[in-house]
């Protein structure tokens, strides 16, 4: 199947008028398959927003290129089937919520009847229907984010590009956002999601790409990127000083003390029984036991750290 986004050697240098400059993106090559939620990760300044701007034609590449929905990057035909939510979206303050959606709908060439139906459905979807007649300048940060999502979906796009979509949302809002993304995938849409909230990305994304200092450091299915090793993770309640000292005696153990529980990471499966016996003898309580799975955050920190070392070396 033709990838929805395919870029090759995409590069962007920003030049200073006085000389010099910085490379915001260096030779990015990736493909985003259709019908998936694709996470685009990286620390601040990695080049994520630069990449999104290149996709949409807001800036021009210094080198390289690509296609989006089969059309050249930034072309009008590509944008016709794309929805975009920028980071911390800004809207016309003098407009009311529904007026704003109607305006963007008209820019997509939607007829009045279609527009009216979609505006109503989208405002209800994002929970802003009761506030549709309120001026945008009276919207809270979270409401603006929701409105931003609604305007990104006004044209029923095949590709939705979201830059930090959870910004400004409370936990309930984030869950609702997640549900919307899963719905979109369920309808065969492609979502290109740039986010700092790795836990959210890990939950919803099928694939991720990790960017650092303008370069792609990792990319692929999450399940392939995250390793499941031999380590075991034992969660214990009621660990006191004595118990902790006993557990530290286990070779290769790592102990992480929390407020209510303590996580004991054992390097091998065979050490589990020894640990459980120690806990039971000291009067502690075993809460849970399971194989330790690498989290996306762990991978992210590992890759970014490695990349920093290589840059320094």
């Amino acid at each position: 199947m033709t990838p929805v986004i395919a870029v090759e050697n995409l590069t962007k240098h920003y030049r200073n008028p006085t000389g010099g400059g910085r490379a915001a993106l260096r030779g990015l090559t990736l493909e985003v398959p259709a019908g998936e939620i694709y996470g685009f990760l990286g620390p601040n300044g990695a080049g994520k927003t630069t990449t999104i701007k290149l996709l949409l034609g807001l800036i021009a590449p210094t080198a390289g290129g690509g296609t989006m929905l089969g059309h050249p990057l930034g072309s009008v035909n590509a944008r016709r089937r794309v929805g975009f939510l920028p980071e911390s979206p800004y809207f016309y303050e003098y407009l009311r919520g529904e007026e704003l959606l109607h305006y963007y709908g008209r820019l997509f060439g939607l007829g009045h009847g279609v527009r009216r139906e979609r505006v109503e459905n989208l405002l209800k979807l994002v929970g802003l229907w009761e506030h549709r007649r309120l001026a945008v300048r009276k919207y809270s940060r979270g409401m603006l984010q929701r409105l931003g999502l609604a305007q990104a979906l006004i044209n029923d796009p095949d590709l939705v590009i979201l830059d930090e979509p959870a910004g400004g949302l409370d936990p309930i809002g984030r869950r609702e956002m997640r549900d919307v993304l899963l719905q979109l995938r369920g309808r065969g849409k492609t979502v290109f999601l740039s986010s700092h909230i790795l836990a959210e990305v890990e939950t919803v994304c099928d694939r991720v790409a990790i960017l650092h200092r303008g370069e792609l450091v990792a990319g692929g299915r999450i399940s392939e990127l995250l390793s499941e090793g031999r380590e075991m993770e034992l969660t214990v309640h009621g660990v006191n000083g004595a118990l902790s000292r006993h557990l530290e005696g286990i070779p290769g153990v790592e102990i992480r003390h929390g407020t209510d529980v303590t996580v004991v990471i054992l390097p091998e499966h065979a050490l589990v029984y020894q640990a459980i016996e120690i806990v039971r003898a000291a009067g502690g309580q075993v809460v849970s036991l399971g194989a330790k799975r690498e989290r996306l955050e762990d991978l992210f920190v590992k890759l970014v750290g490695r990349s920093d070392e290589e840059a320094r070396g």
Binding site: L56, G57, L58, V76, R79, F84, Y92, L107, G109, G111
Partner: protein, 256 residues
């Protein structure tokens, strides 16, 4: 399907009407014109001339102010407030955005100036102060000047901030009136052909807002030929084409 230019133009008009500045300007301008109709400083004849002069000056000043306020907040304001990202991510060409803003601006100015012109025409007609038609022609010429000013401002706004746009537009406006003094001075100081050509180039290539000044004819009840209106409209169209073209080309290269 409505053209994006029309959609953007309508949006521009809506924004201008919801800002408090424009309605306040219109109200204030109308108030001045109405009150000047009741001044009785002079004997009859000069009184009517005075009224027409005040009315046209008010229309000119408030129209110019309205143009600067609208244009400087349109393109530059959209970029500074970052609403541009949402617009440019939609399937529109960049030149459509610039042209749409232009069309919306000149339509808004026409609507803003219309009440003042209506008051002027009303008092001319009821007080038998000359030809109402010539007054309308004079007002049309002023509106043409505003359209050219809008195009100049949009051309500058495609690369500059709102403050710089307003300042440079005023500068272009003032320089165009000072052109006469400059070319006269050049004629005085040197008869050299190069200086003469330079003076001619200044005259023909820089915007000449005096072309749109038919106020003396209107105030003194002289006829403004239709042919003059037609030719000046062509001149305005050429200037608008030039500045909009420059603006759209510069905007095309701009990065956000």
């Amino acid at each position: 399907m409505t053209s994006p230019i029309v959609v953007i133009a309508q949006q521009t008009m809506r924004e201008a009407s919801r800002r408090r500045t424009l309605p306040a300007l219109v109200l204030f301008g109308c108030g001045i014109i109405v009150s000047s109709a009741f001044l009785s400083f002079f004997q009859l004849g000069v009184e009517i001339k005075f009224f027409k002069d005040i009315a046209f000056t008010v229309i000119f000043m408030f129209g110019t102010l309205a143009t600067l306020v609208i244009v400087s907040t349109q393109l530059s304001g959209e970029i500074e407030s970052r609403t541009i990202y949402n617009v440019l991510s939609k399937p529109i060409q960049r030149w459509e955005l610039v042209v749409g803003k232009f069309v919306g601006t000149i339509a808004t100015i026409a609507l803003a100036v219309a009440p003042m012109v209506a008051i002027l025409v009303f008092f001319i007609y009821t007080d038998h102060g000359g030809s109402a038609l010539e007054a309308v022609k004079g007002a049309y010429m002023l509106w043409l000047a505003f359209t050219v000013l809008s195009a100049v401002a949009l051309g500058i706004a495609s690369v500059a901030t709102s403050t710089v746009t307003a300042a440079l537009t005023v500068l272009v406006f003032v320089v165009s009136y000072l052109k006469g003094a400059v070319t006269t001075y050049l004629d005085l100081i040197s008869a050299h052909p190069v200086v003469a050509y330079f003076g001619q180039a200044l005259y023909y290539l820089l915007p000449n807002f005096e072309n749109f000044n038919t106020r003396t004819a209107v105030v003194h009840d002289e006829l403004v030929p239709w042919a003059y209106l037609g030719r000046t409209t062509l001149y305005a169209a050429a200037l608008i084409g030039l500045f909009l073209y420059l603006g759209t080309q510069l905007f095309e290269e701009r990065e956000f």
